[in-house]
Assembly symmetry: C2
Homo-oligomer: 401 residues x 2
């Protein structure tokens, strides 16, 4: 069926979400069944206000550079579509003759497409609705991994590796470094930093993921053990870390040396900061905390090249899927077992991917709950790609007489 | 005079301090007057314990990769040399026949070389002592800029640019982003982020440097003005920011909504966190804070290529200077006025560089104290180098009927 295409970006950006947008535009341009290519400015929220880009008229130069540009070029939102919005959406679909509908997003976005697509079908408006996966959290069901995650994981691994090289050489001054990463419910982005480690003494030494309860005393003991062995310790924490009773680690329960501290969201709560304070208070050690927040979601100069290409392909394949009549599905990355890395593209029903978040598999986390397993490294390595190869001086010392 | 060379690294690393080390080793290898090349493991502190690398025996491959490796490969320290250490240092210089003495460091390091060199001269031990500049803070006198600063500035500019691209697209969700950078007394590293801005609405909008007192109310008004104009605001703060009465901004004086918060050093004090809280409390806006700490000092994959080359050259030139009989000097970068960028190498007396920190010139900071001037941008641009060229979609919208 002939008609126009509508594309939107939703939720937090990734460093490669615009590559998916470029893939969708490119795919749509190739088809003579798709007329105009429209873009939602600020997602569904902006669409409801009829803020609509004409993407057919964007120059080739803009589209080329889009693949390398961070952010969500269309503008994003975190709007929860209510049932009351559905008639208005359909009205606008009719008005703009939207037959092909693509949203790039995470769990909630897949749910939105699912509901819009089902509503249109019920109202006899033929629509091909396709989800393009993206989220740095890597917590979408139905796909081996999610575009955006490999690049964010790479950013984290670079930070932890490079800061580790520095921290080791400064261990006579500072004893620890804490890196906080995104990850409310899933530890994937913390786990990715494990790739920074080449030799046994390299950073990171301890990785705490939200899949396991955080235990203050065990943490202090873990850190002491590392400092005894290596003279310093590199610690990675997911922002969503919780104690056994469910209290977020970021909502520090401790008093510091200076007064009563009770950090809340508005006070700049942070698991990294809490862990930093716990350790410096327990040991008297000096250390730093690094909180990069959205930097791994936007680090366009540090993307995993594989990730950028896959994100672009997901866009292209999304259009292809719609044109062969698929609807109510998400593009999915299917990975062959073993090495070398090989991936193919498929589709999965949106209802199987939406809303629920995929945690890390149990066998990817070590028994002590402070690191990852070799199986996890095998999964991560091809995604994140090779990291720079640094050296230490050979330990050739002048003998004392 | 024939003799051995001794090299040390001191203070905090930069992403290119090992390039200076490689330059020194390379320079020393070329000379037949220099016998063994020795390295202080953990600076003067380790040297006093006779922890001494034999750098003559390092492989070519190690030395090649050293130029690309972050950290201070020799190990660093923050040891303050006391007068009582000087006889022991001289004793070790005699024992190991040290005639050429090179330290790579900042203000304190230059002071150390100055005192060691003067002491040896007084005791009739011929010594050629040369300082190789390094510090991300760019606050050394006697040189146009300091190796390490351009790369750290580049790291900061990349972060602020990329996070700005993201934040603009997310402005319907979050209204502000705060980036905290290193810089206790000098605002250079905050200023470097100004290069992230291409168009008027781009990040960063507000840059607060320690050279100007921070005013809470003026800051809130500045931020409100930006959000009115652009819908969001990108804020950069130096860690060393202070109020007019000298109180560090990091030592928050405010109470938050949840209790009595008084952050101190052990509690994870941070100007970025304070500024984040001030703004979210005053406005109710959502935003994030990014604290990268040592990441710009170790971001080997993001160095300014000019910086790496200059750092290497400073090492080479340091050896050359010693071999033509200079002593008690620091290698200095002399920049020609105007464009294109041209630099030559010279030496300056250590006594003119040591201890005092160079603040930013007054005319590099704008009148409002929340940004930099065009003259500052001209100074910074060639050092930091070109940043990635990102695009926005052309604002071509579907007209509503």
């Amino acid at each position: 069926m002939k008609g126009n295409a509508l594309i939107g970006q939703s939720g937090g950006p990734t460093a490669v979400i615009n590559a998916s947008l470029a893939g969708l535009i490119e795919g749509a341009r190739r088809s003579d069944r798709i007329g105009k290519i429209l873009g939602m400015n600020f997602g569904i929220e902006g669409f409801l206000e009829e803020r609509i880009y004409d993407l057919s008229s964007q120059s080739g130069e803009i589209l080329d550079k889009l693949r390398m540009t961070p952010g969500s070029a269309l503008g994003s939102c975190r709007y929860k579509v209510g049932d009351e919005d559905l008639p208005r959406i359909l009205e606008l679909f009719r008005k703009y003759d939207i037959r092909y509908f693509f949203l790039i997003g995470g769990n909630d976005t897949m749910d939105t497409i699912h509901r819009v697509e089902a509503y249109c079908r019920e109202k006899n408006w033929d629509l091909w609705g396709i989800g393009i996966p993206k989220t740095v959290d890597n917590d979408l069901y139905g796909t081996d991994h999610t575009p955006g995650f490999p690049s964010a994981g790479r950013f984290n691994a670079l930070c932890v590796k490079e800061a580790g090289w520095l921290a080791r050489d400064m261990r006579r001054v500072d004893q620890f470094v804490v890196y906080q990463t995104i990850g409310r419910d899933a530890g994937w982005l913390a786990a990715a930093t494990a790739l920074a480690k080449d030799g046994e003494g390299d950073a990171p030494h301890l990785i705490y993921m939200p899949e396991r309860p955080f235990d203050r005393e065990r943490f202090i003991a873990d850190a002491r053990g590392c400092v005894e062995r290596y003279g310093w310790v590199s610690i990675v924490v997911s922002e969503g870390l919780r104690y056994g009773d469910g209290t977020p680690v970021s909502a520090a329960r401790d008093r510091d040396n200076f007064g009563n501290v009770e950090l809340g969201a508005m006070g700049g709560a942070s698991a990294g900061l809490s862990v930093h304070r716990i350790l410096s208070e327990a040991t008297g050690w000096r250390g730093e905390f690094q909180i990069t927040e959205s930097l791994p979601m936007s680090g366009a100069d540090r993307v995993s090249p594989l990730d950028r290409e896959e994100a672009y392909q997901c866009g292209l394949r999304g259009v292809e899927a719609a044109l062969v009549g698929e609807t109510g599905v998400m593009i999915s990355l299917v990975r062959e077992e073993g090495s070398p890395y090989r991936v193919s593209y498929a589709t999965v029903p949106l209802k199987d991917t939406a809303v629920r978040a995929k945690a890390m598999p149990d066998h990817y986390i070590n028994e002590a709950g402070n690191g990852v397993t070799p199986a996890c490294l095998d999964y991560l390595r091809p995604l994140v790609g090779e990291l720079p190869d640094f050296v230490c001086l050979e330990p050739i010392f002048i003998k004392e007489e």
